[in-house]
């Protein structure tokens, strides 16, 4: 029978250590989740980008259960969170708590993106396939956020233990600097407290207080922004480069006409780092945005995403430091009962400065802009200013879409712009509002339909107008 005992795969190991799992978790999360489909899509809805391709497509709010499938199925649950779970179990068993802490942060972050985009989702009953659970039940969004906060608390506590191996070059984000990971966990806690500012049964001032507390415990600094460095080699380039620039498939996802004009109209110096100037043709040297329909003249006559974000070797910023002062500004504003006070003004201005300095813009070049955009003392206007500045700072960040849904700011029109001079819209948007969620993915509809919340219809057009739980206006 020895002759038959040969069924061991020579090309695939049956066990791997933590320092090989961690780079997989971080790299999958960076390329497929933070820099992947979700933000490419949400950027069309926040109008940072538009897709100059004949429709109907996502830019026209056509997004089917199939379109929503890969992000959930392959990128999040399988490539990131399942591996986080494997790494957490292994590291906990081996008492390598730094590894389990990092893994919990990534897990929590990815889970927040799943629930922010889809609503209720499997969590407490998930990742138990080997125990025979192939149709996990769904947790409510409220319960998911409770567990996310708990995971982040655990990660902060585990790092404090200072027990076990410390990652080194296998930690592509912080190179094993566990203090930075702890700061990131607190920053995410603050983000997720604020997320529930309007949630049913939650009090905005209390959430603001919790957020401020988390930030005060030690948030990320301009020097400890989480980012993932890519390399200018084939198969190692920045995801925005691979998606929007090198043309493997298409390169017509570009800054939107709306957004480019918004920056031009306000003479925002950040335009030079977010939008590239057209390099040839009729519009050479200009900033020209696109809409969600084919361009009337060749696509080369329109601006691309700036190389600050889209160079092959540009780092992918998982968040920007300016988010911290802007969170502080909003939290102070909410804590004061939606009132502007000096703390709000200071944090707001610090946010703009942080965003400018992120690109290396000198104070001489942004002082005028800062003065033009001084915070209004009128509460409504002030809230919009804070969120609009945060929206510009969060260029190409999924957080801009979450903030828009939560606060309604900045006020964004639906994707029905015409190119200058055009009179007809090639393809009109399929909804009259900006979508409020994604439809549940086709794989869950097929393989776990019993557990999908009954109040979310299968049809994407019907589903996408239903707000998620925390989006309670």
């Amino acid at each position: 029978n020895d002759k038959l005992d040969i069924n061991v795969d020579p090309n695939a190991p049956s066990d791997v250590p933590e320092d090989l799992l961690l780079p997989a978790v971080l790299s999958n999360f960076s390329f497929e989740v933070i820099g992947g489909w979700a933000v490419r899509n949400s950027s069309l809805w926040t109008k940072h980008l538009a897709r100059a391709v004949p429709g109907p497509h996502e830019g026209h709010y056509r997004l089917t259960a199939n379109d929503a499938n890969n992000f959930w199925r392959f990128y999040s649950y399988i490539d990131v969170m399942q591996n986080c779970k494997v790494l957490i179990e292994k590291a906990t068993e081996n008492e390598n708590y730094n590894y389990s802490a990092i893994s919990k942060i990534i897990f929590a972050w990815n889970m927040s993106m799943i629930t922010d985009l889809y609503g209720d989702a499997p969590l407490s009953n998930a990742f138990q396939g080997t125990d025979g659970v192939i149709k996990p039940s769904y947790d409510t969004q409220e319960e998911i956020y409770r567990q996310i906060q708990q995971l982040l608390d655990e990660s902060i506590e585990e790092i404090s233990r200072e027990i076990g191996e410390i990652p080194g070059s296998d930690d592509f984000v912080y190179g094993g600097n566990m203090d930075n990971w702890q700061r990131l966990a607190r920053t995410l806690k603050a983000r997720f407290y604020l997320r529930l500012s309007n949630a049913p049964g939650y009090d905005a001032a209390t959430q603001a207080e919790l957020a401020l507390q988390a930030l005060n415990d030690g948030a990320i600094t301009a020097a400890s922004v989480p980012s993932y460095g890519y390399v200018d080699e084939a198969g190692a380039e920045n995801p925005w480069y691979q998606f929007a620039i090198d043309g493997k498939w298409d390169n017509r996802d570009r800054p939107s006409l709306f957004y480019v004009n918004m920056l031009l109209d306000t003479e925002d110096p950040r335009i030079a780092y977010q939008i590239s100037q057209v390099t040839s043709g009729d519009n050479e040297g200009e900033y020209v945005g696109v809409t969600n329909n084919p361009t009337p003249s060749p696509i080369a006559n329109y601006s691309q995403i700036h190389s600050f974000y889209s160079a092959a070797d540009a780092p992918l910023y998982w968040m920007v430091y300016a988010e911290v002062p802007f969170m502080r500004a909003e939290a102070e504003f909410l804590r004061a009962g939606e009132m502007v006070n000096q703390s709000v003004i200071d944090a707001y201005e610090e946010g703009i400065v942080a965003s400018m300095e992120f690109y290396g813009i000198n104070s001489t070049d942004y002082s005028g802009y800062l003065a033009d955009n001084a915070l209004s003392s009128a509460a409504g206007t002030a809230y919009e200013q804070i969120m609009t500045q945060k929206y510009i700072a969060n260029y190409l960040q999924l957080e801009a879409y979450n903030d828009f849904r939560r606060t309604g700011y900045p006020e964004l029109p639906v994707n029905a712009e015409l190119y200058p001079g055009a009179t007809n819209l090639d393809t009109a948007p399929e909804l009259d509002i900006i979508p409020l969620r994604l439809p549940y993915p086709s794989s869950e509809r097929q393989y776990n339909p019993e557990n999908i919340p009954a109040n979310i219809p299968a049809g994407y057009q019907q589903a996408m107008v239903i707000p998620v739980w925390w989006d309670n206006d």
Binding site: P23, V25, F31, Y77, P239, F243
Partner: protein, 1031 residues
């Protein structure tokens, strides 16, 4: 002491030599068959008394042995009896009357006459219950063969190929491409390496009873190939030399496109379509709209006969119109030359065949070339000891091009091309420029002429199949046989994507060296015994050892530096990939046959296999079979009955177990590869760090073998003094405990799990009707009709699972579905009411359904073939009509060609149509006409995929062959023994409702997901001229 008897067998009615006649030493199992010229040669022990000659439709003839070694025999037509001999499992020749199951064979001439380089295609239409599907028109494309329906949900459904008793590999190797078959297409199935000229006979074992002795590997039927043997002819001094030469011309079928409308469109707010010539501005681009881009993607421009005067003035004349498809596909040329030398001495015979095939495909630079050398030597080593050794070496070279959903597929730059733009001329003058992308554009369609000059997916196969069979007659009634075989090949598959290819502007390459080796041994002890005058018994016991090993080594390079140089040193990013697998089966088996008075036959088999791919402890599986044949006409006195000549009833029951693929029983990890599908990826090691993640496939350490159970009943009837025959079979086959890779909710942590689940039932009938309506001294007309239908039912998959993905995109896809069957096309249909009536809105348009659902099924209702053969003296005419009825094809090309305006259906632009349905609002029949304009085809037409589902039925005149054998009197004074010339037409006539006429393409090659027609080379038709000379 023994001697060798040889001679020639002819028919009393025609005087023609008879091939395939069974020549047996009376009272023994020792025997041979005559070759195509009716010649035989047999070693006869000294104590033998006589030889018995048997052939279907003729009286058997027993000839007493005398001192002469030359016995020529004339067989009389038999009005009452049948004694056809067929090859059955393990190569055992048995009289067809004794079989309790269906076996159908195809003779040498029918295979050669099809003029198909791929042996699988040569079976099309010739065997009832067998479905063949050719995947496309490129030289070196794969073909799929399935017998009696799909029995496995996701596993291999194709039969085992056995050549001279040893199993051979028929897989499709794609090399280590990083891309799904969707984005690249598939290469050849490896049965293409067989030289049709060496085949004596193909015997198709359809049911589990017929193939039971092959064990798990025969669960989906067996294609048994027997190669030719040399014969000794005592009248000859020199070896017999046969030479054949064929030349074929094939043309691609290019139906399905509009040839009237130019590149261009009606601008927003405009009133009429404006012309563009498709050239970039710097190369003389022109757009009738002065502000517009001279390039564009869509053929929504003006009609070729009504371009405006402004255009004519600007271009200096009417725009030239071309048919891009007709311009691109070239006549294919196939040269086949085959030389064979055979002969024999007192104790041995031999045959050596060399064949060269040189096929130049319809796609420029696409070729398939094959050189094969096959030799067989059969020797009598001692009085009771014979050895037969076959060795064949094949070198196959294929140069093919990527197909599928990719801008690197030449079909993209071809199927969407406007009639306005001369891609060939533009390529020759400006390089990789298309009507929508300049030479430097990173994205967009590639010029097809540029692609076939710069990109390729070449494959070079070197293959050796060697086997030896030793027979030792321990006693006259007891024989020991050992058959050992080796099938090994290397395949050098590579991909070359040159710098400047849009979508992969920096170029890329891979080079894979793969090696497949299969070693197989059977040791068989067989005995026969006459218990008494009426009852005889034969039995065998045997063991089987089968080892399959597969290894591949790949270097893959991205971002090339030097154009056209496809060596790994030229790549800025380099990867090395290895892939290995190995599996073993050990089996023991036994078979026993009881024969009563030559009209009642009972056969029982049993086999037990142990497989390496199943968990230790549950890797042993046993399965039995029993079959009964009753020639009831023997009980009737019908010797002089002019109507009814022969009748047999048969029944069988059989099981066949099946093991898993290797390495599904242990959870593994794999190297991380962050990727977003087709747009980008991160390759590890990254920045010098490696990364692994858990496999998304959940392994199972509790797998048990699959089991197929089949019941078959049938009858063979002959009428009118054997001038007409009817064979009928009914089978009911159930596959249980399928080993599936079942997709599950990813929230479980896994994408798929390995599980034993599922029950599939296939029931069907097969009818073979043969007849000779006319037979005179000089003229005959033979008819053979094959008909089959199969009904598939997926009784269960796994708990709570209703369907399994077979292939395609997330949407659309081909799936197996519990409610709707195998090969369901699943996508978004039109909205219908509960009675299935189309619902139409108040403006006259149907609406997309709310949810995805079944919009078609690729499984045919029935298959049929009719062959008519007419012979007049040396002239013969044979025509094979092959039909498939029912079953859909998902024509995904139309999704794009209706958008781009190149599909034939868009020629109706500007006309009105009324959709046949009822209004949703008031339930009244729809009468509102809708305008079929650009917006209709671009924005509405493919909102549902239903318009892309087309009827896959066809009737094909698959082969028509005229053969002329020169009369003997013309050549009797020459050294030639026979000369014939022939002409064969392939697919000269096709009737179908499919847009592209020939619905036989499939992007998935020979995979389970059939009927997915997208970006493949269209089918071909043509004529072959042949010359055969023997001397």
């Amino acid at each position: 002491q023994e001697r060798r008897i040889s001679g020639r067998v002819t028919a009393s009615d025609t005087g023609e030599p008879l091939g395939g006649v069974s020549v047996v030493i009376t009272g023994s199992t020792l025997g041979t068959t005559t070759d195509g010229e009716g010649n035989y040669s047999i070693a006869v022990p000294s104590d033998s008394k006589s030889l018995t000659f048997r052939f279907v439709g003729y009286l058997s003839n027993t000839v007493e042995l005398t001192s002469t070694n030359q016995i020529n025999v004339v067989l009389e037509v038999d009005a009452t009896n049948l004694s056809e001999v067929v090859v059955t499992a393990l190569g055992i020749q048995r009289e067809k009357r004794s079989l309790g199951y269906s076996v159908q064979d195809v003779q040498s001439q029918d295979i050669v006459n099809s003029r198909e380089p791929n042996i699988v295609n040569a079976l099309a239409g010739k065997v009832a219950g067998v479905q063949i599907n050719n995947s496309g028109g490129q030289a070196g494309s794969s073909s799929r063969i399935v017998i009696r329906g799909n029995s496995s949900l996701t596993g291999e459904n194709q039969p085992l190929f056995v050549i001279d008793g040893i199993p051979m590999d028929n897989s499709v190797n794609r090399g280590e491409t990083s891309e799904s078959i969707l984005f690249n297409g598939a290469g050849a199935n490896r049965a293409i390496d067989i030289d049709p000229n060496t085949i004596e006979n193909i015997s198709v074992l359809k049911g589990a009873a017929a193939s039971a002795l092959y064990g798990s590997r025969g669960a989906f039927g067996v294609v048994l190939i027997t190669t030719k043997r040399g014969v000794r002819d005592a009248n000859r001094k020199f070896p017999r030399v046969s030479f054949s030469s064929n030349f074929a011309v094939d043309n691609a079928i290019t139906d399905g496109y509009q040839t009237s409308y130019h590149l261009g469109l009606t601008p927003a707010g405009g009133t009429r379509p404006l012309f563009r010539n498709g050239l970039p501005a710097e190369l003389g681009g022109y757009n009738e709209d002065p502000d517009g881009n001279p390039q564009g993607t869509t053929s929504w421009g003006p009609h070729k006969d009504s371009v405006s005067q402004a255009v004519i003035d600007a271009l200096g004349g009417m725009p030239t119109v071309i048919d891009p498809r007709k311009q691109f596909y070239q006549p294919a040329h196939v040269w086949t030359n085959s030389l064979s030398i055979s002969g024999g001495g007192e104790r041995s015979n031999y045959i050596i065949t060399y064949t060269n095939l040189d096929q130049k495909g319809v796609v420029p630079n696409n070729y398939f070339r094959k050189n094969s050398l096959t030799a067989n030597m059969t020797s009598q080593l001692a009085e009771n000891f014979t050895s037969s050794t076959s060795v064949s070496y094949t070198n196959s070279m294929n140069n093919r091009f990527a197909e599928g959903n990719n801008s690197r597929s030449f079909t993209y730059g071809l199927n969407f091309a406007p009639i306005t733009f001369d891609s060939k001329q533009v390529y020759q003058e400006h390089g990789n420029v298309t009507w929508q992308a300049g030479a430097d554009a990173a994205a967009g369609f590639n010029n097809p002429y540029w692609l076939v000059d710069n990109n390729a997916v070449p494959s070079v196969v070197d293959r050796i199949i060697a086997s030896n069979e030793l027979n030792y007659d321990i006693f006259p009634w007891l024989k020991l046989t050992n058959r050992v075989g080796l099938d090994t090949y290397t395949d050098e598959v590579s991909e070359q994507v040159n710098i400047g290819t849009k979508g992969t502007t920096n170029g890329r390459m891979f080079a894979t060296l793969l090696k497949s080796t299969q070693l197989n041994n059977d040791l068989i002890l067989s005995a026969t015994s006459d218990i008494n005058e009426d009852l005889s018994f034969s039995a065998l016991v045997g063991t089987n050892y089968n080892d399959r090993k597969f290894t591949s080594r790949t270097v893959r390079g991205l971002n090339l530096n030097i154009p056209g140089f496809f060596d790994i040193s030229n790549a800025a990013t380099q990867q090395a990939i290895q892939s290995d697998s190995r599996r073993r089966i050990v089996g023991i088996y036994a078979s026993g046959t009881l024969e009563y008075k030559n009209y009642l036959f009972l056969n029982v088999t049993a086999r037990n296999d142990w497989s390496s791919t199943l968990p230790t402890g549950s890797n042993s599986f046993f399965y039995p079979s029993a079959s009964l044949s009753w020639v009831f006409s023997e009980l009737l006195d019908i010797r002089d009955n002019p109507y009814f000549s022969y009748g047999k009833l048969r029944a069988s029951y059989a099981q066949a177990g099946n093991d898993a693929n290797p390495y599904l029983t242990m959870q593994t990890y794999s190297q991380a590869n962050p990727s977003d599908g087709t747009r980008g990826e991160i390759i590890f090691p990254f920045r010098g760090i490696n990364a692994f993640q858990i496999s998304s496939l959940m392994a199972s350490n509790t797998l048990s073998p699959e089991m197929v159970t089949e019941i078959e009943v049938g009858t063979d009837l002959r009428f009118f003094r054997n001038r007409m025959g009817l064979e009928f079979s009914y089978y009911d086959k159930t596959s249980n405990r399928q080993i599936l890779q079942q997709e599950i909710a990813a929230s479980s942590g896994f994408g798929t799990r390995v599980v034993n689940a599922g029950e599939i039932s296939n029931r069907g009938i097969e009818v073979i009707l043969s007849g000779t309506p006319i037979r005179t001294e000089s003229f005959s007309w033979d008819v053979l009709v094959n008909f089959s239908r199969n009904r598939y039912q997926l009784k269960s998959i796994a708990e709570g699972v209703d369907n399994i993905f077979l292939g395609g995109f997330t949407d659309p896809q081909i799936r197996a579905d519990r409610e709707h069957g195998y090969g369901v096309i699943w996508s978004l249909g039109w909205k219908r009411n509960e009675n299935g009536v189309l619902l139409v809105d108040d403006d006259g348009y149907p609406m997309p359904a709310d949810e995805l659902g079944p919009i078609g099924n690729v499984t045919p209702d029935w298959l049929g073939g009719i062959r008519n053969t007419f012979r007049y003296k040396g002239l013969s005419l044979s025509a094979l009509i092959d039909t498939r009825q029912g079953g859909d094809v998902f024509n995904f090309d139309l999704y794009y060609t209706t958008f781009y305006g190149t599909a034939k259906v868009t020629e109706q632009r500007g006309t009105y149509t009324v959709w046949d349905g009822i209004r949703e609002s008031d339930g009244q029949p729809n009468t509102t006409p809708v305008l079929q304009d650009q917006a209709y085809f671009q924005n509405f037409y493919t909102q549902s995929m239903e318009e892309l589902v087309e009827d896959g039925s066809f009737i094909k005149l698959r082969e028509v062959t005229i053969n002329y054998q020169l009369p003997d009197r013309l050549i009797e004074r020459t050294p030639f023994e026979g000369i014939s010339v022939s002409a064969t037409g392939r697919n000269l006539w096709i009737k179908s409702n499919f847009s592209y006429l020939d619905p036989e393409g499939s992007l998935f090659g020979s995979g389970n997901a059939q009927g997915f027609y997208h970006a493949v080379t269209p089918g071909t038709r043509g004529v072959t001229f042949g010359l055969n000379v023997t001397f």
